[in-house]
């Protein structure tokens, strides 16, 4: 079994899987259960000033389901902790004492004045926590009060609050970023400039789940009225991965350690985040959907994967980052064609109809009078749509042309790389 022990910002944990700051880490009871199940760490549910906020006593969650009622996307309007600060601090102190080998991070959300930060952070740090996570991410409720995403959307505020936190804390400071921004880079850069030791991302995305088809109100509602929540779960992973990769591949931000968050459900999702530059990952929705036991698959799935690949966890981290670039640098001389394995084909014809209706008319439906789906190389642009929609794994694959003529363009195949920056159609092209 590969060694999954991780050190993030000098904080050791038995594996790279932390529970994100959220309902699963609301109190000692939950966190105890999580640590018993094997989670590597927990970011305690966000602390705020006393008196504590109040939550609605109606629906806090909504979900998008598959027909099998599998939760694909999830939404919440729960606020930060609604318990007195001292209660949380007492429980955190006890948890850290009982579980010294696990990472315990305090998530905090405070109004934008330095004195408050200077007052609360030392009180919290005194519980023995390993780090702070500054919640600049929650897009609902708290943002109306000038906190959460309202801070995370203004780089100057991020930098300012990060500086206050660094001044008040002696343990590392992680800044949790909101994805509700045009580019994740200015907020990440601001965190770095403010002295943050790391960033964690993504928090949830502004969302309304749907309409109630009977009442024709938004759904869910509290007494007939609803408000946008924060969207998470499997569906948001690609958005999160892009933001993590952007930070990891950009010169100005790549020195920032990243704790990856967003839709991690099984170990493969963790591999995605780690390979794209996250040093550890945080999980919430999957635990809320299946319970803490999913840690078993996360841990031994990742471990088995590393064994198979003969990689250490450290070697995996960032492994895929060099493969992420800008469109303009993609090799325009590279030509692929789809190939359908006729032995695996079940003849559903989906590849044909989507190519015919929405793409390049490059797949037959009949060959010599028989139902048969074959790629027409002279039409195929290599777009991968057929591969994406085929219900049979590996039935359709993409194959590179390495010699001869591309039957679609009539141009000879060149193994020389050539991208948009030098393309003759590019008015801004660089001369070679």
């Amino acid at each position: 079994m590969a060694d999954l022990r991780t050190t993030f910002l000098g904080i050791p944990s038995p594996n790279p899987f932390w529970l994100a700051s959220a309902p699963p880490t609301d109190k000692a009871y939950n966190v105890n259960r999580a640590f018993e199940a094997g989670w590597g760490g927990a970011v305690w549910k966000t602390l705020g000033e006393d008196p504590p906020i109040v939550n609605v006593s109606g629906p806090r969650y909504g979900a998008i389901h598959s027909n099998e009622r599998r939760v694909i996307g999830f939404n919440n309007i729960e606020l930060i902790t609604d318990r007195p600060l001292q209660t949380n601090l007492d429980e955190m102190r006890q948890i850290k004492k009982d579980w010294p080998d696990r990472a315990l991070v305090a998530s905090v959300m405070l109004p934008m004045n330095e004195a408050t930060w200077a007052k609360y952070l030392p009180m919290v740090e005194d519980t023995g926590i390993d780090a702070f996570e500054l919640n600049f991410g929650c897009p609902h409720g708290m943002s109306e009060r000038g906190m959460g995403a309202a801070v995370g959307q203004v780089p100057e505020y991020i930098q300012m609050a990060a500086e206050w936190a660094k001044k008040a804390a002696s343990v590392p400071v992680i800044v949790k970023l909101t994805p509700n921004v045009t580019s994740i880079l200015p907020p990440a850069k601001a965190a770095l400039d403010g002295g943050a030791d790391a960033v964690s991302l993504i928090n949830t995305i502004n969302s309304i789940m749907r309409v109630d088809y009977d009442s024709l109100t938004m759904y869910p509602t509290t007494d007939g009225m609803g408000t946008h929540g924060g969207y998470c779960g499997e569906a948001v992973k690609p958005i999160a991965l892009n933001m993590v990769a952007e930070i990891a591949r950009t010169k100005e931000t790549r020195s920032l350690p990243v704790s990856g968050i967003g839709g991690i459900t099984d170990w493969r999702d963790a591999v995605d985040f780690l390979a794209l530059g996250a040093s550890n990952v945080q999980v919430c929705t999957a635990a809320m959907v299946y319970g803490f036991k999913i840690i078993d698959d996360l841990v031994d799935g990742l471990s088995n994967f590393l064994d198979d690949k003969r990689l250490t966890l450290d070697e995996l981290i960032g492994k895929a980052v060099p493969s992420v670039t800008d469109w303009q640098y993609l090799n325009l001389n590279y030509v692929e064609k789809a190939v359908i394995d006729q032995d695996l084909c079940i003849q559903c014809g989906r590849c044909h109809v989507v190519c015919e209706d929405t793409s390049h008319q490059a797949i037959t439906h009949t060959v010599n009078g028989e139902r048969r789906f074959e790629v027409i190389d002279s039409e195929c642009v290599g777009c991968n749509l057929c591969v994406s929609v085929c219900p049979v794994e590996d039935c359709i694959s993409m194959h590179r042309l390495t010699e001869g003529i591309d039957p679609r363009t009539g141009e000879p195949i060149s193994m020389e790389k050539a991208d948009w920056t030098t393309h003759p159609n590019n008015p801004m092209r660089k001369t070679k």
Binding site: N67, E68, I346, Q347, C348, H365, R371
Partner: protein
């Protein structure tokens, strides 16, 4: 052996009421909403879907399943019923395992097709509770069409004609409409008087006058209809059961499977139906399976089904054959009856073994065996009593069935036909529905002078 022991043992109440109720409850319970959603999710939404091609009525199967997925059940029912107005019955009785479900590409992928039949039932069951009709009638054409027969072919034809704006009179030999849907299908395949509910729904479109108890050849003739209607559709099915052609065929205890199936369907108290202790069924089609299984479920101790050829040649699908076996019916292949023995009641049937000879024809092997039986059911097919049609000049037959073209036209310009009485098709409900529909569309074209 005492004399009484030699008496045929045929009696009612072999099983108690609870057992009967269990045995004649629904064979396939309907899908719950969550089962249906999960099953619907398995549909790949194929292009030019093989299941649709395999459906004799050409239902857009991926289309109706997609609508189940989106909870558009009314739209789903419409997609089904616009092609097959008896989509509800067909969902229950179609041999889907040799039609749509056999064609399902999931068979290639995982050897388990989408349960199309059960999904079709899920989509169509709610229509009976809906107040807004799915179909309406076109502007009246003033044309009048006679439909002979109130089975699947006749009712399908009548419904489509009514939709297209014509007035229809349906002549029905029986007391109740529905034909074999009402009289000829195993009871556990269509419970709760479903056949009549479906007929009521079909007739509710309006413009269809149903005349029960009117027999062709007795109460009226084809020629009379031709004289007083703009067009005539014949969907009279088949009449009498084929004869085995052996001495002893008239012995008490030798019965027609079709007739007894009708008795079972019409019985108000199944327990009161007499059934033999030992039952032998001769034949290899659906009717043979239906009577064999129902005999067993009425309490017959031993049911033997004897077919002259092998399992591959049986008209009953593999699924139906398995159903018989799991119900305790013993199937004997490659044997045919040669003697029906008994003094004043059938007692023994003597069979000879058969095989295919070098030229591929069925031939006796000489080897014989006997089965003791209180009842033997003949399920060796039915024939059309051609005489009923009154032999109008120009009406052609092939193998004693009415010749039609692809549009359902007979060789008479104003007469169309469909269902079991025609020379093409496979004697399935779904095929009869299609033939009725196709004929109606052609009749409409003709009556509009197109």
């Amino acid at each position: 052996m005492s004399k009484s022991a030699q008496q045929p043992d045929i009696r009612s109440n072999r099983l108690d009421n609870d057992e009967i109720a269990r045995n004649f409850g629904e064979l396939h319970p309907p899908l719950s909403r969550s089962e249906a959603l999960i099953e619907a999710d398995r549909c790949y939404f194929c292009y030019d879907a093989p299941c649709t091609t395999a459906c004799p009525t050409g239902i857009d199967i991926p289309g109706f399943i997609q609508k189940i997925r989106s909870d558009n059940i009314r739209g789903s029912a419409h997609t089904i019923l616009r092609e097959n107005i008896m989509g509800g019955m067909c969902a229950r009785v179609c041999p889907t395992e040799v039609l749509c479900e056999e064609a399902c590409v999931r068979n290639t992928h995982e050897e388990k097709p989408v349960e199309i039949g059960l999904l079709q039932r899920y989509a169509t069951d709610p229509i009976f509770d809906q107040e807004t009709p799915l179909f309406s009638r076109a502007a009246a054409t003033g044309k009048k069409v006679a439909v002979v027969g109130a089975g699947p072919a006749g009712l399908s034809c009548a419904h489509r004609l009514a939709m297209l704006g014509h007035e229809v009179v349906v002549f029905n030999r029986d007391d109740k409409p529905g034909g074999l849907n009402e009289y000829g299908i195993a009871a556990y395949k269509t419970v709760d008087d479903f056949a009549q509910k479906e007929v009521d729904y079909i007739l509710s479109i309006g413009g269809i006058e149903l005349r029960n108890g009117k027999t062709l050849g007795k109460d009226f003739t084809v020629q009379e209809l031709r004289d007083s209607y703009d067009a005539v559709f014949i969907g009279i099915g088949l009449g009498s059961t084929n004869r085995i052609g052996l001495d002893g065929e008239s012995l008490p205890g030798v019965s027609s499977a079709i007739e007894y199936i009708a008795e079972i369907r019409q019985a108000s108290d199944l327990g009161k139906l007499p059934v033999g202790r030992r039952v032998v069924v001769i034949g290899g089609g659906m009717t043979a399976i239906d009577i064999a299984v129902q005999s067993k479920r009425l309490g017959a101790e031993v049911v033997d089904l004897v077919y002259r050829r092998g399992p591959e040649q049986m008209g009953a699908s593999r699924y139906e054959q398995d159903l018989a076996k799991t119900n305790g019916v013993t199937i004997h292949h490659w044997a045919r009856p040669v003697e029906l023995l008994g003094d004043d009641h059938l007692k023994t049937i003597r069979f000879e073994r058969t095989a295919l000879d070098d030229s591929g024809r069925l031939a006796a092997q000489g080897d014989r065996f006997e089965l003791t039986a209180d009842t033997v059911f003949k399920a060796i097919g039915q024939v059309l009593d051609v005489g009923l049609l009154g032999n109008p000049a120009g009406l052609e037959f092939q193998h004693d069935r009415i010749v039609i073209d692809a549009a359902g036209r007979t060789t008479l310009a104003d007469v169309w036909a469909g269902g079991d009485c025609v020379a093409v098709g496979d004697d399935l409900t779904v095929t009869a529905v299609q033939q009725g529909k196709v004929a109606a569309i052609d009749i409409d074209r003709r009556l509009r002078g197109e």
